[in-house]
Symmetry: C2
Subunit: 112 residues, 2 copies
Amino acid sequence: MTNLSNKTCEVCRVGAPQVTQKEIDSFKPLIPGWKITTVEDVNHLNRVFKFNNFIEAIAFTNKIGDLAESEGHHPAILTEWGSVKISWWTHKINGLHVNDFIMAAKTDELLK
Amino acid sequence: MTNLSNKTCEVCRVGAPQVTQKEIDSFKPLIPGWKITTVEDVNHLNRVFKFNNFIEAIAFTNKIGDLAESEGHHPAILTEWGSVKISWWTHKINGLHVNDFIMAAKTDELLK
């Protein structure tokens, strides 16, 4: 399995397939800090990142913002004093696409 | 009633009083776009702001961040494509302080 974070999001249209369980089993070990949660029947990939203060948190929020714009795929970002929670999912298919796993891996890379 | 947004947050310590219903009745008409919601028994002041894209949303997030740092009072900011949800409350008292109404009014001012 190649490094997820080196991949680029593919164009995702309504009706594109969600990731299969086999794909999840393959991708998930590459992003161990992320959890799959279900909100109103829609799966999301979530991770909370901790920081020392608000300024560091919002700086990370902006890094995620730049990444999201560059890939044309946008998460929900919950910024609070000392923490940023990122949720990736694909609105067009109401669930998880391979793009979301790629973006989770790229998110992890931003901290390195 | 003077303009809430012209006020400055006071220092808030553990044990400080939450806003009274009389204060809420006085402040709430000054910030009509905000709703009080209760999450796990803690009241929050929430408002969702809509934008045309992700860049505008994250630009507003940064304005809120600057405001929060300048006042030393920090909200939860949920940034998504085209929207920013702001939640003000006071962690130290697990509820709403007059500061939160001041910050909600200052948040509204940022859009003017």
